[in-house]
């Protein structure tokens, strides 16, 4: 039903609502987006598909006015469209539903829907009119029954999202951009969202829909545009392409990176998880890690990979299940006890969690394990400095002094400091979350080599990555996660990149 009305709308208005011509954007030497073009008519829906880092977010930020494009032009209803800020785009009728919702949690549903567009007389709110507009907006999404007085923060995620969409409707948005809207929704909420999107299209609103989930994409949209490494590699009608075709277009790149390997042997089991569950994710994970083995975790953002590492490391609460080291259940629940037991973790978020940005290389390298440099609680500055300098040399950290704050280092050098910390704390079980994200190729190769060396020494590496070629090249075994569960673990040679992607995407 929705499809037919979509087509009607397209024929009804021959001219495009939004058209994008050859838009490109670079950040320094990195080309985030190059030469993207498409047209979008009223009531039409276009899916933007691509791997993590393919340029989808950059495209959306350009459209919503967060970034300004370097090249190309955009038109809205035939007039130039050059938003300088999100508020600008909103005024012209292009609204974005962010992955992290942007609502004022303490304020009521009606106040959020009319935020920044309050109806008033002499500065006094016209409450009944405000309520009518809010109720109309919600009713057109099929949810006139929502309590308008409730603070938005007390609503479940799915309902909060509806409030945000209602806000765009009250602002009379003509183009709505959804960025991974279902990543934190339950199945029921997802269905509710799809119905709302159908209604919106019937009213002539054009939809841009970003998602990894191909099933969803087929449910919501008729056309697609695939991005890879910032470039538009394919586009057309979804009816004319099958899932394997889409996946091929998404991942089909040359593996031209350099993956050094170090000879290593799998030994006896060291860590085993049985039925490990966190508060939300992970869910009932069984996994055994052997000495001398690199295990990779593949999956989409939000699949629960980071949460698995955090649960294992004692940062997130473990709801049920067991962690054993060498068949002994682990003692303690805190990260502090995990460090003592030989765990070491590198966070995916170097800026706010992985490193103390204001502190020096010296402090960051040694903060997790100061015992060798301390006597009766007194730090021996000299010894500590010598050790830090040795670590910095060993890990090729480029800095003029170990006293330099890590905030002044490049991403690659910061990551080396984070890894050096694990070496200092004599970690045996390395939990690495996206260790090569945002890092130059040279440093990536060094990180792969260190991982190889550690397992060659009989240690264990568990690495989460969204970059499949890296997992394929470096890991001995790869586990695929989706919706909090580990779906399957296989030796790397029994996986193809295509199969990994398919499993991660299809299982909703």
């Amino acid at each position: 039903m929705s499809q037919s009305t979509g087509r009607e709308a397209r024929t009804a208005s021959s001219s495009a609502l939004l058209s994008v011509h050859g838009v490109g954007k670079s950040f320094g030497p990195t080309i985030a987006l190059s030469d993207v073009s498409f047209d979008l008519a009223a009531g039409e829906s276009l899916a933007i598909i691509g791997e993590n880092g393919a340029g989808k977010s950059t495209l959306m930020k350009v459209l919503s006015g967060v970034h300004r494009p370097d090249r190309g032009r955009m038109e809205l209803l035939g007039e130039p469209f050059e938003p300088r800020a999100p508020a600008d785009g909103l005024r012209r009728g292009v609204a974005m539903i962010y992955q992290e919702l942007s609502l004022a949690p303490e304020m009521s549903v009606v106040d959020n829907i009319l935020l920044g567009q309050e109806r008033s007389r002499w500065g006094f709110l016209r409450r009944s009119e405000q309520r009518r507009i809010a109720r109309d907006a919600l009713a057109s999404l099929g949810h006139a029954d929502l309590d308008l007085n409730r603070p938005v923060g007390s609503l479940p995620m799915g309902w909060q999202q509806l409030v945000e969409i209602a806000r765009c409707l009250a602002a009379e948005a003509r183009v709505l951009i959804f960025d991974e809207p279902t990543s934190s929704l339950t199945k029921q909420d997802t269905e509710r969202l799809f119905l709302a999107i159908d209604t919106l299209r019937k009213r002539g609103v054009a939809i841009l829909y970003i998602s990894h989930f191909l099933e969803e994409v087929r449910r919501v949209t008729d056309r697609y545009l695939i991005l890879r490494d910032g470039a538009q590699v394919a586009s057309g009608e979804l009816d004319g392409i099958d899932d394997p075709g889409i996946i091929r277009a998404m991942v089909g790149r040359d593996i031209d990176d350099f993956f050094p390997t170090v000879e290593h042997q799998r030994g006896e089991p060291l860590v085993s998880l049985s039925g490990l569950s966190g508060v939300n994710k992970p869910h009932e994970v069984d996994l055994t890690l052997h000495r001398g083995e690199i295990v990779g975790v593949a999956g989409l953002v939000g699949a629960g990979r980071t949460e698995l590492l955090r649960c294992l490391y004692g940062l997130d609460q473990v709801r049920s299940g067991e962690i054993r080291i060498a068949a002994e259940p682990v003692a303690g629940r805190s990260a502090r006890s995990r460090v003592r037991q030989g765990f070491g973790m590198v966070s995916e978020d170097r800026k706010t969690e992985g490193l103390a940005q204001e502190l020096s290389i010296l402090e960051n390298c040694t903060m997790s394990y100061l015992r060798p440099f301390a006597k009766w609680g007194w730090l021996r500055a000299g010894q500590r400095r010598v050790a830090a300098e040795r670590l910095a040399r060993e890990f090729h950290v480029k800095a003029y002094s170990v006293k330099q704050p890590v905030s002044e280092l490049s991403g690659g050098n910061q990551q080396k400091v984070a890894l050096a910390r694990l070496a200092n704390q004599q970690a045996e079980i390395f939990l690495l979350d996206e260790p090569t994200r945002g890092i130059d190729v040279g440093t990536k190769a060094e990180i792969y080599r260190w991982m190889g060396q550690w397992v060659a020494e009989g240690k264990v590496v568990l690495v989460v990555s969204s970059y499949l070629p890296e997992l394929m090249a470096v890991c001995d075994r790869i586990a695929v996660m989706a919706r909090g569960r580990v779906l399957e673990v296989r030796p790397t040679e029994q996986w193809s990149e295509h199969e990994l992607m398919e499993l991660a995407i299809s299982s909703s």
């Binding site: 909103l90 942007s102 609502l103 303490e106 920044g116 709110l125 409450r127 009944s128 309520r131 309590d147």
Partner: protein
């Protein structure tokens, strides 16, 4: 204000018990309930062990007068805190305003001029805070920590580091009456013993409540405090909102300084040091959140009154200042702890209570 639409929107009537529990745990009424309970406890304790003076009309009148002095500047603090700010300079700004008032009266500028200068001083103090916060992007805590000391300095320049005590003939009688008169003295109402100061504070509170809940600007204040990035995204002039909020806070501080002077008839530049913490305490007990987006006029009034009730109750029971302070400290922490529990009930509590928030 909108009962008709309010009741229409709720689907199905909840059972009376749940309705009562819900009303008592409403965020804006919680502090009022706490106030009533604490007052009742002191009244009973005083009947049993004290002289039975606590619950007399005379004493309650004193309590309200004490509360009003804190309540008025605390109302200004409430908007600032709702907008996600804080004003540590509120205490010394109050004494600076009082100094300006006393100085103006001493110099025989006439009371309209002196009061005008006082209000201007308060507003300027607030605008200075707001402008510094906007221009420097330094957190309000640090900016107002700086201006807190500056205001003592400004005041001392006027007072030559002494205490100003203008002569009786220099100030108008209404300035005395503000703290000490009853409505009946002024011929407003035939009822005896309704003091003027809480009535004026009440008018100031009504103005604030209308501003916060019935105007567009009020919605903007909540939005800025609740999620500044969202507010910017929605096209709200965030910086302007902050500036006005601090200016408004300053106006309430100026009114508070009239109370302060009216009570003691003297002014010194550093007498306000520490007062800001009483203002903040009133807001926090009243359900205000220091991370912004939450706070209420009724709550702040209840918070200010609660502190005054505890003070008076302790005096009547013969408990000294040390006990008083400990009890007020406990009240601050328990108010916030209870509020937090209401928002996210811990597992053991949600197992006992029926779920009230679920659909």
């Amino acid at each position: 204000m909108d009962h008709s639409t309010g009741s229409r929107s709720s689907s199905g009537e909840p059972s009376p018990l749940v309705a009562v529990v819900r009303a008592l745990t409403r965020p804006d009424l919680g502090p009022l309930v706490a106030l009533l309970i604490v007052t009742a406890v002191f009244a009973i304790a005083d009947q049993l062990w004290g002289r039975g003076f606590f619950a007399t009309q005379y004493n309650l009148r004193l309590v309200l007068q004490t509360a009003a002095i804190v309540a008025v500047p605390a109302l200004g603090m409430t908007v600032i805190i709702i907008a996600g700010g804080i004003d540590l300079s509120a205490g010394t700004a109050t004494s600076l305003c009082a100094v300006v008032l006393a100085y103006g009266l001493e110099q025989r500028l006439g009371w309209p001029m002196a009061v005008g200068c006082t209000v201007l001083t308060g507003v300027l103090c607030g605008l200075l805070n707001g402008a510094l916060i906007i221009a420097t992007r330094i957190v309000p805590f640090v900016v107002t920590l700086g201006t807190m000391t500056m205001f003592v300095g400004f005041g001392s320049l006027l007072t030559k580091e002494l205490s100003l005590t203008p002569r009786k003939e220099t100030y108008p009688t209404w300035l005395h009456d503000l703290s000490f008169a009853n409505l009946s003295d002024l011929g407003f109402l035939p009822v005896e013993l309704i003091p003027l100061s809480p009535v004026v504070a009440g008018l100031a509170a009504i103005f604030m409540a209308v501003l916060l809940h019935s105007t567009v600007f009020g919605r903007w204040i909540f939005a800025v405090g609740s999620n500044e990035r969202t507010a910017r995204l929605a096209g709200i002039p965030v910086d302007w909102v902050k500036l006005v909020v601090y200016g408004l806070g300053g106006a309430y501080i100026a009114l508070g300084s009239l109370y302060m002077f009216s009570k003691t008839k003297e002014a010194s530049a550093n007498s306000g040091i520490g007062l800001e913490l009483q203002f903040i305490a009133a807001v926090v007990i009243g359900g205000g959140s220091l991370s912004g987006g939450r706070g209420s006029v009724i709550g702040t009034l209840a918070g200010a009154t609660l502190a005054a009730v505890i003070e008076s109750g302790c005096i009547q029971l013969g408990l000294g200042t040390p006990t008083q302070r400990i009890i007020i400290g406990v009240a601050i922490i328990s108010a916030v702890a209870l509020d937090k529990m209401r928002a996210e009930p811990p597992e053991w509590l949600s197992r006992i209570l029926p779920r009230m928030s679920s659909e």
